[in-house]
Amino acid sequence: MSDNLIEFNNISKFFGSVIALKDVTMHIKRGQIMCLLGDNGAGKSTLIKTLSGVHKPDEGEIIVEGKKTIFDSPRDALDMGIATVYQDLALVSLMSVTRNFFMGREPTKGFGPFKTFDINRANTIASERMGQIGIDVRDPSQAVGTMSGGERQCLAISRAIYFGAKVLILDEPTSALGVHQASVVLKYIVKAASSGLGVILITHNVHHAYPVGNSFTILNRGKSMGTFDKKNLSREKLLGMMAGGEELDKLEVELKEIDRIKN
């Protein structure tokens, strides 16, 4: 049991008479990528918000590294090392890469009223971190607005890792990206997991999920249809279980591309 980084046991969430989530169970191990799949309206957003401390579950328990926990706020979850990267990424496009990277958690130097934002150190760390994931930040004082969608996604993830995330919850990180950009982000997610993080990847795109995931939880109408290990699950079977499998043909091309990149 203790090899689970985080456990969500029988989580239910009700909004008045609406059952948004019912008995959802997920276990995430260190170094694993758990993909959470489901069509629109399956309850993915509610589940993310429950996992990240925005909503409190009405039933069930959350166990972080063996200890039963209740999150009172997103801050609580963050302090436990559970970081959520939402679709809007919490980046300000008019601000520089560095200023975004350290937004709210700026390194300082000096004391008392003369404490200043240590911009040089921040610049060094930001471009070093971005360099590690293969993104060449020409100038860390350039505005985030000049970066591509994939680069922004990587910046948001890299920021979460730098500030001590143990579990990363990624909400549709590839949904707004083209094939190449998506592959850059997916590669980075695999790299992050291999360094010992647990990742929950929320997506409705099987073709993005299958190559990178270790296990798959499928959500349908607020209920979990079960968690499957990759070795017991073919891509076709996974597609079949998803409600939104009709885009299959169109995405066949994309699929090959990602396979090629992963190998």
Binding site: P74, R75, L78, Y86, D88, L89, A90, L91, V92, S93, L94, M95, R99, F102, M103, G104, R105, E106, T108, K115, T116, F117, I119, S127, E128, G131, Q132, D136, V137, R138, D139, A143, G145, T146, S148, R159
Partner: protein, 372 residues
């Protein structure tokens, strides 16, 4: 591996950095428009009015003083605008702060320094009220502070008439002389320099041999000091980063732990306090408070901030830009008297200048945020 990738990173960033010249960095700054505009305005008046005394010591002090008065509130308005909000109650706050100094000092017998401190504490209250209303209700600050504009101006008039039976309160000048803190807002700095220049015959003198321009007015010192302080805040502190973040994306900033509400409330307090500094300078200089003092100043402050490169939707701008915006405003408003142009045209010029500045700044911002 990490050292290897680091060295590659450093090498490639060096390569890129060499391409970016100092000039290009400057071209991407938000205050560029206002800086260029100031230079143009000076060239224009240098040619048109160069021999009229506009740029004599006395003339220079005159237009600097007008610029400085506006600059004091424009810098605070710029910070608030970068933080994503407006304060339309600045002008009314100036009038209100004026009577908060004058009524206790003249009618209640308070020492002047105590009245000044009273005015500043009222400013903190008004700023806090504006801030908490905007943050708690989520209403646009445009509406909330527009309401405050009327409330404060009305209260200023009603209270003054109730207590004094008139709309002006004269008689403060005598009190300034012996006051321990009033000099902060009224004394001329570097008087010895002007006396010395006068004795050398380099600047104009009065009949009695004292120089016509007696020193740098306190407002100019305040203007420069506030611009430096605001720039330091914006560029060099965590709080500065929070201002940009709060204005750029309120929700995103909150999600990563920026105390957006506190930042905004403190910025509203900042504009009200700046309005009170303006009121102190004016009231102590004129020796009287007037219920209409500061009328329409809120709009002039916004003009200066916008000309200075602030984005109306927040998240972008500069305090130095706003200071230059105020300099343009002050130079033109005084300079126009030295030309043959009918002063009736001043506001036309102001509007046109603002339009050009906004279009230009928009172009700069697009360059900064969209070039790849």
């Amino acid at each position: 591996m990490s050292t290897k990738s680091k060295s590659i990173q450093n090498k490639s960033s060096d390569e890129r950095l060499r391409k970016v010249s100092k000039l290009k960095v400057l071209l991407n700054r938000p205050e560029l428009g206002a800086l260029g505009g100031s230079i143009l305005v000076f060239i224009f008046f240098g040619i048109i009015a160069g021999d009229t005394g506009m740029f004599s010591a006395y003339g220079t002090i005159n237009f600097l003083e007008v610029s400085a008065n506006l600059g004091i509130i424009a810098v605070a308005a710029a910070l608030l605008m970068i933080g994503g909000e407006f304060d339309l109650s600045v002008g009314s706050m100036i009038g209100f702060a004026g009577i908060c100094i004058a009524i206790p000092a003249i009618y209640w017998g308070w020492p002047l320094w105590m009245s000044i401190l009273f005015a500043f504490s009222m400013a903190v209250l008004v700023g806090y009220a504006n801030g908490i209303l905007v943050v708690r209700t989520g209403l646009p600050s445009f509406i909330v502070t527009l309401a405050m504009l009327f409330i404060l101006r009305g209260a200023t008039l009603a209270i003054t008439r109730l207590i004094t039976g008139r709309t002006q309160i004269p008689g403060l000048r005598v009190l300034v002389e012996d006051d321990p803190i009033a000099w902060i807002f009224s004394a001329d700095a570097f008087q010895f320099v002007f006396t010395w220049l006068g004795s050398l015959g380099l600047i104009e003198l009065r009949q009695d041999g004292t120089p016509l321009a007696t020193g740098i007015p306190a407002s100019v010192i305040w203007w420069i000091a506030m611009t430096i302080f605001a720039t330091w805040l914006l560029m060099k502190t965590r709080y500065g980063n929070w201002i940009f973040a709060s204005g750029g994306d309120k929700l995103g900033a909150r999600n990563v732990g920026v105390p957006v509400g506190k930042v905004k409330i403190s910025l509203f307090i900042g504009t009200a306090v700046a309005a009170t500094i303006y009121a102190c300078v004016q009231v102590l200089d004129a020796g009287s408070a007037d219920t209409m003092r500061g009328f329409l100043k809120e709009l002039e402050a916004i003009v200066a901030a916008v000309v200075g490169g602030c984005l109306l939707t927040g998240g972008y701008g500069s305090a130095i830009g706003a200071a230059f915006g105020a300099l343009i405003f002050g130079t033109v408003s005084m300079g126009i008297y030295y030309t043959d142009v009918d002063t009736d045209w001043f506001k036309v010029f102001l509007g046109v200048m603002m339009l050009i500045a906004v279009i230009f700044n928009n172009y700069i911002r697009r360059r900064v945020t969209e070039n790849k």
